[in-house]
């Protein structure tokens, strides 16, 4: 998956102390930390601890990150490490009562973490592209996602039904024109230059 240049911009801005850029990094990767924690079958307090440790490490490491574009990979690895440490500690505490129900091999863990990272990156690209659409476009597409008919959408948004088809088409075109989303789609269909 190609690096989303947005990530590089966010890391550089966060380095300079930009809270908004930091917030966007959190929104981008918090679902990944959450999912990885869940895959390690951790409960909420443990996931909270892992996340705090990971974010603090990132705060500390922002200036030293060799490759800002690889921040997602750095976060995934750090999360995996912290989850493993937490699970190990829990296992020792609970060993009398129960055997550990977590039994992924190291390879399986690495693959799982890689998948979670990829999901986080692609979801962030999709959400960002969607968020850039005008509000009317967002509403139309959300209602389409819910499977609402054009008649109903027209009534709800007070728009003539005849205008909805073309409008929807323009909204989708705008979405596809988002450079990051476009790069993602190209990478997934794996056919550069394909017309």
């Amino acid at each position: 998956m190609p690096v989303d240049p947005r990530v590089i911009v966010l890391v550089i801005r966060a380095r300079e102390g930009d809270q908004d850029a930091w917030d966007e990094l959190i929104e981008r990767y918090a679902p990944m930390i959450w999912s990885i924690g869940r895959r390690y079958r951790m409960d909420r307090p443990d996931i909270d601890d892992v996340a705090q440790t990971v974010w603090l490490r990132l705060v500390e490491s922002l200036a030293d990150l060799h490759d800002p574009g690889a921040v997602g990979s750095w976060l995934a690895t750090t999360t995996k490490h912290e989850c493993f440490r937490t699970v190990k500690a829990r296992r020792r505490q609970d060993s009398m009562e129960q055997t550990l129900d977590f039994d992924m091999t190291a390879d399986e863990q690495a693959t799982m973490v890689e998948q979670e990272l990829e999901t986080a990156e692609r979801n962030a690209i999709l959400r960002a592209a969607f968020a850039k659409l005008p509000p009317t476009c967002q509403r139309i597409l959300l209602l389409r996602i819910e499977g609402i008919s054009y008649e109903e959408i027209g009534a709800r948004l007070d728009l003539p039904i005849g205008s909805l088809g073309p409008k929807r088409g323009r909204c989708l075109a705008k979405l596809r024109d988002d450079p990051a989303l476009n790069a993602l789609i190209l990478a997934e269909i794996g056919a550069p230059g394909n017309e």
């Binding site: 959190i26 996931i47 500390e60 999709l126 389409r144 996602i145 789609i185």
Partner: protein, 155 residues
């Protein structure tokens, strides 16, 4: 550019968007907010001390010893400052020592931002009683210029 993207049909594209939005909605709001709040630590110019020892993570062999072991003992080291901070739980209080010994001030900060301070005496000892509510972080500053923080500690 959009020509090539036609390979994702409207259905696929909308399904992907739906999935991405749901993934974000599925995460508790306060989980995300707590992450955003950690940026405040950026401005605290202190070294993050690494966990160097945790009695809970010791092998069983090491736990079999003649002396009664404390409930939990943790050691953090800050390599740059060349300082170690040892804490243990004793009678419902948190007892700690700074090595090498030096006087200063210690702050215990809970996740809600509650801050308790205590004096580090001239031989490096400090006592927080009652035990702070976990998770908490320790931030210590000494007259000799040590300025370090630990990660979140859960006992």
């Amino acid at each position: 550019m959009s020509d090539m993207s036609e390979n994702w049909s409207e259905e696929v594209l909308l399904a992907q968007i739906a999935e991405a939005l749901e993934a974000a909605d599925a995460i508790p709001h306060d989980f995300v907010e707590a992450g955003k709040a950690t940026f405040a630590w950026r401005t605290i110019d202190s070294e993050l001390a690494e966990l160097a020892f945790d009695s809970d993570l010791q092998d069983h062999q090491d736990l079999i010893r003649s002396e009664p072991a404390p409930l939990r003992a943790l050691t953090f080291t800050a390599p740059r400052a060349a300082v170690t901070i040892e804490i243990e739980v004793v009678d419902g209080a948190l007892l700690g020592q700074l090595v090498p010994e030096q006087a200063g001030e210690i702050h215990i900060v809970t996740r809600t931002g509650h801050d308790t301070s205590a004096v580090i005496d001239e031989v490096g000892y400090f006592l927080i009683s009652p035990m702070p509510v976990a998770p908490f972080r320790i931030h210590c500053q000494t007259a000799s210029g040590v300025n370090m923080s630990t990660n979140w500690i859960t006992l």
